[in-house]
């Protein structure tokens, strides 16, 4: 395990809250506003950590365990992700499963914590989360399968490292583009962004992710916000890993490139949120099935 792999994780832990800040600034730019400071999410999280708590009398320890386990799972998912050609701390064949299932664990504890409040809104949010993630899971795993066929490795580090060698415009390019679009849709779904979910909505009935954490506050909510940033970082790192341009071979420069690309994903998310509206709820499954179809198409390309 190279020392740089630890820096990988430290970078993620430090810079992840920057992503929502970037998204908000991009959205403000499109709306012609000045927008909140870039570092606002840091301030938000720190402020939340300084607060007390209010719990519903309906809730039990499951409600309190949700944010803790969710954040721990998000952190573990970072340990299998490479960044800018630097392999992950835990790089082994099959680590992609640990990645996918850690995100699954995070989702599961969020859903149970939501159901613990006994609120119809939160139950609805949990149900929708389960529905969409069930449809997003095949897109992610089939896309990874396509990459495995292409690169000959089924470790995220080996897989994405192999991709850096694929020249742009080469025979692998269409495959990578298809997988990247599929992963992009998965990223938007898993992080509750437009067009799947609108993080700015103010009506409980229309929320998905936000409504599940309605009753959390203070430290717990700080954990949830931070875990959400880490999850966004993790999926952005996966997405940019697929689209990584040829590397210079110098580790600091490559890592900086990796971080820059992740920030670029945040910009892209901000642009998407600015230029399009949220999809009708019943249309979202079609989008997710389309993502799976893209992954299957990528597989067909590479297995042909």
């Amino acid at each position: 395990m190279p020392f740089a792999s630890i820096i990988n994780i430290l970078l993620a832990l430090l810079l992840a809250p920057l992503l929502p800040g970037v998204i908000n600034r991009v959205k403000a730019f499109f709306a012609g506003r000045r927008g909140q400071p870039l570092l606002q999410p840091y301030h938000d999280i720190l402020k939340l950590l300084r607060k007390g708590a209010v719990y519903s009398r309906t809730t039990s320890w499951v409600f309190r365990a949700g944010p803790v386990l969710g954040l721990a799972a998000a952190m573990v998912s970072l340990t299998v992700l490479p960044l800018g050609g630097t392999p992950a701390v835990l790089a082994f064949p099959g680590d992609l499963l640990l990645f996918a299932y850690m995100l699954g664990l995070m989702r599961f504890v969020t859903m149970t914590a939501a159901l613990d409040t006994g609120s119809a809104f939160e139950g609805m949010g949990a149900s929708r989360e389960a529905w969409f993630s069930m449809l997003a899971e095949p897109a992610l795993l089939l896309g990874l399968a396509a990459l495995a066929v292409h690169t000959g490795s089924f470790s995220l580090s080996g897989m994405l490292d192999g991709l850096a060698l694929v020249e742009i415009g080469g025979p692998g390019a269409p495959l990578l583009l298809l997988v990247a679009v599929a992963f992009g849709i998965v990223l938007l779904t898993e992080n509750a962004r437009i067009p799947v979910d609108d993080p700015n909505t103010h009506l409980e009935l229309t929320m998905i992710h936000e409504v599940m954490v309605l009753d959390h506050g203070g430290v717990d909510f700080g954990f949830i916000q931070y875990a959400a940033c880490l999850k966004l970082w993790a999926l952005a790192a996966l997405l940019t890993g697929v689209l990584l341009p040829p590397l210079s071979g110098m580790r600091p420069a490559d890592m900086a490139l990796g971080v820059a690309l992740i920030l670029a994903v945040a910009v892209m998310v901000g642009v998407i949120e600015s230029v399009m509206a949220r999809l009708k709820l019943l249309r979202v499954p079609q989008l997710l099935v389309a993502a799976s179809v893209l992954s299957v198409l990528a597989l067909a390309l590479v297995l042909r």
Binding site: G104, M111, T112, S127, R128, A130
Partner: protein, 658 residues
């Protein structure tokens, strides 16, 4: 082997003694203690056999035509003995407290007799080395479990479930009988060592017979219809044994049959992968549609049998395509999932039993808020729920990881593989869908039953189960975590069994390879637990000394919510089921609100088992109509029957003298 046979003898004797003791209160203790003691002995024998790597064999003469008392303990048998001897005693201990309320009403001697005999027969099924002995044990297993299902025989639905089970299991046995006859050829002996397929075509036919015969017991879709009826009808500790262990004898049978059939043919693996995918996905979808907790769990057994079959199928595909890693990983994953499913499904059924014991209801729509009334049951049920959803750091993830890794490994670096890559892709797609759906289903089952506010007076007055019922659940939950964290160790238990099935593959080197990966998975699991503990400590530290308020759940400012305003299990599952309505065809009766001031409105949705409704019910109706046509034969007068007997003898005489 002596130890193992002694275990069988003790358990049988204990069961018989229970029958004699009858209604006295000590009967439960007697039954459970003999079962536990004997299981400990059987477990020791199995573990010793696995560790030594030797195959033990015992052949005793037996005055039965074609048969001999031949039992053996190789890696495959030892693994299944381990599973049986692990779950059955825990279920028995649980049963002591669980059956206590029934003591006045029922004769428990019979129940314990059948329970012990069921355990003995399962142990014999997985160690028999003679087809006649195997089929006898198989039949005893079917009958004892039938009588256990009929424990609450005063209820009409139990009786129907029991009969469905009895018919299904005997139809399955008929296929097995045909298979063994075909395999034994013209030989006078039905010893397993002599069974072999005469030709590749015969092997294929035998494979199909085994698939139907053993698949009925295991619950392959579409042969599963008896399972969700019979398992919930039995007392909960018996459901745990039937769903966790007994259906696995079907898997054992299929695996054992594969050792007779010679080198597997290409289509066998493909067929198993297909059956596994269909069983897995349909099982979990139908589970999602259930409100009856035990029925939901029973459908999840169909799903998990699907996962096991995916692993075995992948293993067979690996053999035929000459990919030792795929063969070993698929087989190891499938076999290890047998143990894992037994552990978490046993746990979940015991948890469902505790709920039933405490509230008298299995309908999750009537429950809610149980975690604050039944802390231990709730915590262990949550662990079981996460484990069955395949989430790390629990045991379900380890076996699913192995199967996934087999599939991914076979794909990696094979561009241009074409259609040959299809089984691995189906495995990945099916496991991904099953994972998402299972997590949704158990978020629903756990969330609606244990969380929120109680939805009925029964749930309101629930009480925690006695220690005798809690202890087995705690042990099983600890096993879920233990196997999950020490996956590299757990896989060694499956290795001898896989070695029996894969004589051409160097299983040991594959195990060593995968142990490195699983070791890293363990590192991730430990890291998760450490981080969670650290964050929990941080949270406590931050919150200490600050004001912690308590209030109602946020309901948009509405301050007087009732329990009926909570989200229900049906609503939770509705969008997911809607995505699959073409397969599930849910019935819904809507009474929509009408007019300016609607007085009442209602919505009722129900999902019936697609196969039961569109295949089996019409088929059996046709059989019954056919049978009714022959009704005139059985008119009633005794003279007529005497005439039939005489005619039969006459026909036989003519046939013989001809």
């Amino acid at each position: 082997m002596t130890l193992f046979l002694a275990a069988l003898a003790v358990m049988t004797a204990g069961g018989a003694a229970c029958l004699l003791v009858g209604r006295r209160p000590a009967v439960s203790l007697l039954g459970a203690s003999t079962c536990t003691l004997a299981s400990a002995a059987a477990l020791t024998a199995a573990v010793r056999g696995m560790a030594s790597g030797r195959t033990e064999d015992l052949l005793l003469p037996w005055p039965i035509p074609f048969g001999s008392f031949h039992v053996g303990l190789d890696g495959l048998s030892a693994f299944f003995v381990l599973v049986i001897a692990l779950i059955c005693p825990l279920a028995a201990i649980y049963g002591v407290s669980y059956l206590k309320p029934q003591r006045e009403k029922k004769n428990l001697g019979g129940t314990w007799f059948f329970f012990n005999l069921l355990t003995v027969s399962m142990l014999l099924v997985v160690t028999a080395r003679d087809a006649v002995l195997f089929l006898m044990a198989w039949e005893v297993m079917a009958l004892t479990s039938f009588f256990l299902v009929m424990f609450e025989g005063e209820r009409a639905e139990t009786v129907e479930a029991g009969w469905t089970y009895l018919i299904a299991t005997h139809l399955g046995t008929a296929f097995l009988l045909a298979m063994f006859v075909l395999l034994s050829g013209s030989g006078a002996s039905m010893d397993f060592t002599r069974l072999q397929a005469a030709s590749p075509a015969a092997a294929g036919a035998c494979f199909l017979l085994a698939l139907v015969g053993f698949g009925t017991k295991a619950g392959f879709v579409p042969l599963h219809v008896w399972l969700p009826q019979a398992h919930p009808a039995a007392p909960s500790h018996v459901s745990a044994v039937m769903s966790g262990v007994m259906i696995k004898t079907g898997i054992y049978g299929l695996l054992r049959a594969l050792t007779f059939l010679g080198p597997p043919q290409l289509w066998w693996g493909w067929t198993l992968v297909g059956i596994g995918a269909v069983s897995g996905i349909l099982g979990v979808l139908l589970a999602l549609a259930q409100h009856d907790l035990k029925r939901l769990l029973a459908y999840h057994s169909v799903e998990n049998i699907g996962i096991i079959t995916l692993g075995i199928g992948l293993g067979l595909v690996g053999i035929t395509s000459g990919d030792p890693a795929m063969a070993a990983l698929g087989m190891l994953g499938g076999i290890l999932h047998v143990l894992n499913h037994a552990v978490f499904k046993g746990l979940l059924f015991l948890g469902a039993g505790s709920i039933l014991h405490a509230t008298g209801s299995r309908n999750i729509e009537q429950l809610g808020g149980l975690i604050r009334r039944m802390g231990t049951t709730g915590a262990t049920f949550l662990i079981g729920s996460a484990a069955i959803s395949g989430l790390p750091p629990l045991n379900g993830f380890v076996s699913e990881f192995l199967i996934y890794a087999g599939a991914f490994g076979s794909l990696a670096g094979r561009p241009g593989a074409g259609a040959a890559a299809l089984p691995a892709l189906i495995v990945i797609l099916a496991l991904a869908m099953i994972g998402g759906l299972a997590a949704a289903c158990f978020a629903k089952a756990f969330g609606i039953a244990f969380l929120g506010e109680p939805r009925s007076a029964h749930a309101e007055g629930a009480h925690e189960a006695p220690i005798g019922m809690r202890l087995p659940m705690i042990v099983l939950a600890a096993l879920c975590v233990g196997i999950g964290v020490l996956g590299a160790l757990a896989v060694t238990a499956a290795a001898p069994a896989a070695a029996v099935l894969l004589p051409t593959v160097d299983v040991l080197s594959q195990v060593r390879r995968v142990q490195l990966w699983l070791g890293t998975v363990s590192a991730g699991a430990v890291l998760l637990l450490v981080l969670a503990a650290g964050l929990a400590a941080l949270r406590r530290r931050l919150l200490s000394g600050r004001t912690i308020g308590r209030t109602v759940t946020w309901d948009c400012g509405y301050t007087a919510p009732t329990a009926r305003m909570q989200y229900t299990a049906s609503s939770f599952a509705s969008p997911l089921l809607g995505s699959f309505r073409l397969i599930l065809r849910p019935d819904s009766r809507v009474h929509a609100p009408q007019g300016m001031f609607p007085a009442e409105a209602s919505l009722h949705t129900q999902v019936e088992d697609t196969f039961e409704r569109y295949v089996f019910t019409p088929a059996f109706r046709r059989v019954r109509n056919l049978a009714l046509r022959l009704h005139w034969l059985q008119a009633g007068p005794n003279q007529l029957y005497v005439l039939y007997v005489a005619m039969a003898i006459l026909v036989l005489l003519v046939w013989k003298l001809r």
